[in-house]
């Protein structure tokens, strides 16, 4: 095989590889922008650990549930409250028995206010944000998750 033929072969290979890589990148970006976000779990979990009541009785100020919980439709849109303590607890909007959980799904983006005697203000809010739209917002959301997995 002559030197010129080898060089031409490499050039063809390099061109095709570049095309392949570029198309894979475009496909990946298209997927990231358009594919539905499918989180492993849509539950935002808060748990009352065992012994919480005893700690409160001893004067320890235990805060588990924040005044405001922020959820995102389609991604984290289920408030899951679990009581692992030995006594019934008013936890957010519900009275939850020992070993019991309360699972509240949201389907509409809005701000929800619940009377809650466990909070100093007597209320807690759940703010449900809309999920990212397809295209750039979804791409941006995935990029942020990739860069900041805990965000």
């Amino acid at each position: 095989m002559r030197d010129g033929e080898v060089r031409a072969g490499w050039r063809t290979f390099a061109t095709r590889s570049s095309w392949l890589l570029a198309s894979m990148l475009v496909a990946a970006l298209a997927w990231a922008a358009l594919a539905p976000i499918e989180p492993a779990s849509r539950d935002e979990l808060f748990e009352i650990p065992r012994g919480t009541w005893a700690r409160r009785m001893a004067g320890d100020k235990v805060e588990i549930l924040p005044d405001t919980v922020r959820l995102t439709l389609g991604i984290k849109d289920v408030l899951l409250l679990r009581n692992l303590d030995d006594v019934p607890q008013v936890f957010g909007p519900a009275l939850i028995m020992p070993g019991q959980s309360f699972r509240l799904p949201f389907e509409v983006a809005s701000t929800y206010s619940f009377a809650c005697s466990a909070h100093a203000k007597g209320a807690m809010n759940v703010i449900v944000d809309p999920g990212p739209a397809k295209g750039w917002p979804t791409l941006r959301w995935r990029a942020l998750q990739w860069l900041q997995p805990s965000a």
Binding site: W19, L20, W31, A35, V90, Q100, S101, P105
Partner: protein, 196 residues
């Protein structure tokens, strides 16, 4: 394989499959917040707006939608009761298997007669409950309901829990629907509870 053929046969189908994929996350069965495992709903004994003793056991075999409020409530209670009336209407023949119970948090002003007149404006099938303040307070504690008097000039209003409790036909406290949900959400959940 040339690039156009590769794109046509591999990349585009992959992309279409990803873009049209449906969520595999299982939707919750009920629209309301679900207690798991469910417990037996606390029993109560009140004076009913229909003149009889009002107990939960009386409605065993029916789905009970239990709400707390007061007849002079300016917004939340009328909205809730109108939604429940709409849901019962949408249930058609199944409406007979659903009982709405409205328990007052304001026994000073809500006697059986006031409750009866108030509820009839929404649905003649609704039943109200009242009783001694301590009896009502104990019931609220059992359900995790809060109610607080708020002075307004010479009068007062009541701040109270606005969620609605869903009790199944076996008397188990299955779920709690937050205030503001549509009638269709109640219809959906009641149908599920009636089917089980």
């Amino acid at each position: 394989m040339s690039f156009p053929r590769f794109a046509f046969k591999v990349l585009i189908p992959l992309w279409l499959a990803a873009a049209s994929g449906v969520s595999v996350a299982a939707a919750p069965a009920l629209k309301a917040g679900v207690f798991e495992p469910p417990r037996q709903a606390p029993e109560f004994a009140l004076r009913g707006s229909d003149g009889s003793d009002l107990t939960l056991a009386r409605y065993r075999g029916k789905v009970v939608l239990l709400s707390f409020g007061f007849t002079q409530c300016p917004a939340v209670c009328p909205t809730t009761l109108a939604t429940l009336a709409q849901a019962r209407s949408a249930l058609g023949s199944s409406a007979d298997r659903v009982q709405v119970v409205f328990v007052t948090v304001d026994p000073e002003r809500d006697g059986p007669a006031q409750l009866k007149a108030y509820l009839a404006a929404f649905d003649a099938g609704f039943v109200g409950g009242t009783g001694k303040p301590e009896v009502l307070a104990a019931m609220r504690r059992n359900y995790g309901v809060v109610a607080e008097k708020v002075p307004i000039g010479d009068s007062y209003a009541m701040d109270h829990t606005s969620s609605i409790f869903l009790i199944d036909r076996e008397g188990r406290l299955r779920a709690m629907m937050p205030y503001g949900r549509d009638a269709k959400d109640f219809v959906h959940d009641v149908k599920l509870l009636l089917a089980k």
